[in-house]
């Protein structure tokens, strides 16, 4: 609809972001004023945020809701949606409880109460459900966190995803590992792959394998496990130890990945590194406390907020000041999601949900997450510039180490998990 506004949008967005870091955005907001001639006169624009505020992922969900609110506040402080007469954004936050049905009924409620766009939800199952609600109501839905590829394989036209999908993470995880190894000059010919047997683990593994094979890297042994039932990983790690693998790649959730670390600690396989791909534990501060030796040296290729970006740092500081805990990457994604919606509203100059959807499609927002470029949605709604970054646990801190442009400090490779 309003393709000509692309350049404006970048400026406007920068303004909104700057507002957060304390700078006034008044100069650019004036520029936005004449962008939409036929301004609808609206005082408030409702955006629905769906997150697991309770349930087993509430820690993430609550941060995500809080960060989304900070994004809304930032936009409003910067003058709201100029193209709509400076209309203020209002965030309607709802609790999915991490359950698909609740997600659906809450999404329906939010839309009924006037939300022009939705964001969320963290759990892939819930997101799949909300995506169908969004589609049927023709309301745009921007997923912050939800890795499962299948959500966007339904031909939806109203759903978008900021974070890399599981298969993107598998591919990029492999690429990163290969470059990292090459960069370090170490010798890694064979890796073992251990993954949870659900679709998440399988997608990451399959794309990793394709990439690795192309580069001549042997992936063997390949071991899958049931993350809900497994209580001991010693046998699996013994299988790894009995092989010629030089490194171990792990895709799994928190509890099982911790079991892997415990088993690695006692079996002491001869490995140069343990390398998580989209791992649910190895970039978590809790893991440092729970794992043997603090998990020192563990890598994880995962989505992460860009520690090297000044705006991101400003957000992180503001968040910690306001909420008393370090911001999680999931929360930064929620922040980005609100910004994508806000920017689309600005360009659409309308609260018509289809117009907003069309504007989202054209976004060029520069995210606070590590990315290969501005947010760019392909025809399925996937952000093609979503990227992973390699993190490593070093002396109790989880730091970005690779690629170079995002590195806050040098990586250590080889990093044998047992000293």
């Amino acid at each position: 609809m309003k393709r000509s506004l692309r350049n404006w949008s970048v400026v406007g967005l920068a303004g909104a972001t700057l507002a957060l870091s304390g700078c006034a955005g008044s100069a650019v907001s004036a520029a936005g004023g004449d962008a939409e001639a036929t301004t609808e006169d609206v005082a408030e624009i409702h955006i629905g945020a769906l997150h697991p505020l309770t349930g087993s992922n509430a820690a993430d969900g609550q941060q995500m809701a809080a960060a989304a609110q900070m994004a809304v506040d930032a936009v409003n402080e910067a003058g709201g949606i100029e193209s709509l007469g400076g209309a203020e954004l209002v965030l309607d936050s709802a609790d999915t409880q991490g359950e698909a049905e609740t997600g659906q009924s809450e999404a329906t409620r939010l839309i009924e109460e006037g939300a022009v766009a939705l964001l969320g939800t963290f759990q892939s199952g819930t997101s799949a459900n909300v995506a169908s609600v969004a589609e049927r109501n023709q309301v745009p839905f921007v997923m912050d966190v939800s890795a499962l590829d299948e959500i966007l394989e339904q031909g939806y036209t109203y759903s978008f995803r900021l974070q890399p999908s599981a298969s993107q993470m598998g591919t990029q995880g492999a690429e990163s590992l290969l470059s990292l190894v090459e960069d370090s000059g170490a010798e890694v010919d064979q890796v073992a792959y251990l993954y949870e047997q659900g679709n998440y683990g399988a997608a990451a593994y399959e794309t990793f394998l394709a990439e690795a094979e192309e580069a001549g890297l042997t992936v063997d042994p390949v071991i899958q496990y049931d993350p809900a039932a497994v209580n001991d990983m010693t046998t699996q790690i013994t299988q790894v130890a009995a092989s010629d693998a030089d490194a171990l790649v792990v895709t799994g959730y928190y509890r099982d990945s911790l079991l892997v670390a415990q088993a690695v600690d006692i079996v002491e396989p001869d490995l140069q590194a343990v390398y998580g791909v989209a791992n649910g534990a190895y970039d978590q501060p809790d893991f440092v406390n729970d794992a043997p030796n603090g998990g020192d040296g563990y890598f994880d290729a995962n989505y992460h907020w860009d520690v090297t970006n000044a705006d991101s740092q400003a957000l992180a500081e503001a968040f910690e000041a306001e909420h008393g805990e370090p911001i999680r990457s999931s929360a930064v994604l929620s922040y980005d999601a609100v910004m994508v919606i806000a920017e689309a509203l600005e360009r659409a100059g309308s609260t018509d949900t289809t117009a907003v959807r069309d504007a989202v499609t054209e976004t060029g927002y520069a995210p606070l997450m590590v990315a290969d470029g501005p947010v760019t949605f392909d025809e399925t709604g996937q952000n093609t510039n979503a990227a992973v970054v390699v993190m490593q646990i070093q002396d109790g801190d989880i730091v970005q180490v690779f690629p170079q442009e995002f590195a806050e400090t040098d990586y250590v490779f080889p990093a044998p998990p047992t000293e």
């Binding site: 309770t54 609550q62 698909a100 049905e101 329906t108 839309i111 299948e150 679709n199 049931d226």
Partner: protein
């Protein structure tokens, strides 16, 4: 089958709830049941004109609970086989529909028939084994539980069934009765669900009045006496299982078409079994209308609590942001009803009225 009376377990498979039931055995008062059914459906059909769209989501959930409760009740309430794994039939219904629609391109209605067929076959098969090998009491209960669990694990390991991801029903724009799809918030989901519930209730009433149904109830009351009067207890119990499995599978189909999504945990998890049992138990096991009462009480709990916590009244602010309150409430109601009103809410009302 021993004739020795035993103190704690009934001789019927699964023990049954014999002795703690009020049964509408049919002949005396169920002409009235048809009237009540007609009035119930007519009144309930007006609900979409009263409730808001988001409250309709709760109403639809009530329908799902009710259908599951009615289904479970046939087997456990009237048949005396306390199933602890009705998730199996719910899940089969859901998965058959989803697989039919997504992979085979079938109409959901055909998917429903497919689900019913597989569900009935599975139910009859596993129950035949359980009854044939005379599993009673705890062992019967365990076997039903294990069956649902085994199905869940089977699906998780099965590529053709999409493992842990399950299925998402493709969204179409516009309404289609044939494809069982309507715009979000359309009252048609509710009306169809109500129609299905009405048919399940009708099946339930017909079952209780039918020869097989009455023989099944007789066998529940005393299977040895029933056999001595020429009733093929095994065959009739399996018939009850078939009816029960079919109704529960319908709930699965409706779930999938309404939520447009299913995964192994939703379909075969213990929560689904619990919902079926608790709906019927809270309402009143072995009665036609108990599961409806139970569903109206239990299904909205989670939404009511969520709504309550969204704007907590003074003194309850600390609860905001904490999960679990709804399930605690659910558990407390369950335990309280089981101990204080063993016949369930509806069952107790009925027996009070009868006495007075």
């Amino acid at each position: 089958m021993t004739t020795t009376a035993t103190p704690r377990t009934s001789t019927s498979a699964g023990g049954g709830l014999t002795g703690r039931l009020t049964t509408d055995t049919g002949s005396q008062r169920s002409r009235g049941d048809y009237v009540v059914l007609a009035v119930f459906v007519a009144v309930a059909a007006a609900v979409p004109f009263v409730l808001s769209a988001s409250d309709m989501a709760i109403a639809n959930r009530v329908l799902i609970f009710a259908i599951m409760g009615v289904g479970w009740n046939i087997m456990a309430g009237f048949g005396g086989m306390f199933s602890f794994g009705h998730a199996a039939y719910f899940g089969i219904g859901a998965y058959a529909t989803a697989y039919g629609v997504v992979v085979l391109g079938l109409s959901p209605w055909l998917g429903m028939l497919l689900g019913i067929a597989i569900s009935v076959a599975a139910g009859v098969g596993i129950s035949y084994l359980a009854l044939r090998y005379k599993l009673t009491g705890a062992y019967y209960t365990m076997s039903t539980f294990a069956f649902a669990e085994a199905l869940r694990l089977f699906v998780i390991g099965n590529d053709a069934l999409n493992r842990t991801v399950g299925f998402t029903i493709p969204v179409q724009q516009g309404s289609s009765l044939v494809d069982f799809q309507f715009p979000a918030g359309s009252p048609w989901y509710y009306w169809i669900g109500l129609g299905l519930l009405g048919m399940c209730l009708l099946a339930s009433i017909l079952f209780v009045r039918s020869r097989p149904g009455r023989f099944t109830i007789a066998a529940r009351d005393d299977d040895v006496a029933a056999a001595a009067l020429g009733i093929d207890v095994l065959r009739h119990k399996l018939f009850a299982v078939a009816v029960s499995a079919a109704i529960t599978a319908v709930a699965g189909t409706y779930y999938v078409q309404y939520y447009m999504f299913v995964d192994p945990e939703i379909a075969f998890g213990a929560a689904a079994s619990n919902d079926a049992i608790i709906t019927a138990v809270v309402g009143g096991t072995g009665t036609i209308w108990g599961p409806i009462v139970g569903a109206i009480i239990m299904a909205p709990l989670s939404d009511v609590v969520t709504g309550f916590l969204r704007t907590p009244p003074p003194g309850f602010e600390w609860l905001a942001g904490h999960g679990g309150l709804d399930i605690i409430l659910y558990a407390v109601i369950l335990v309280a009803v089981v101990i204080l009103l063993p016949k369930g809410v509806y069952g107790t009302l009925v027996s009070r009225r009868r006495k007075s």
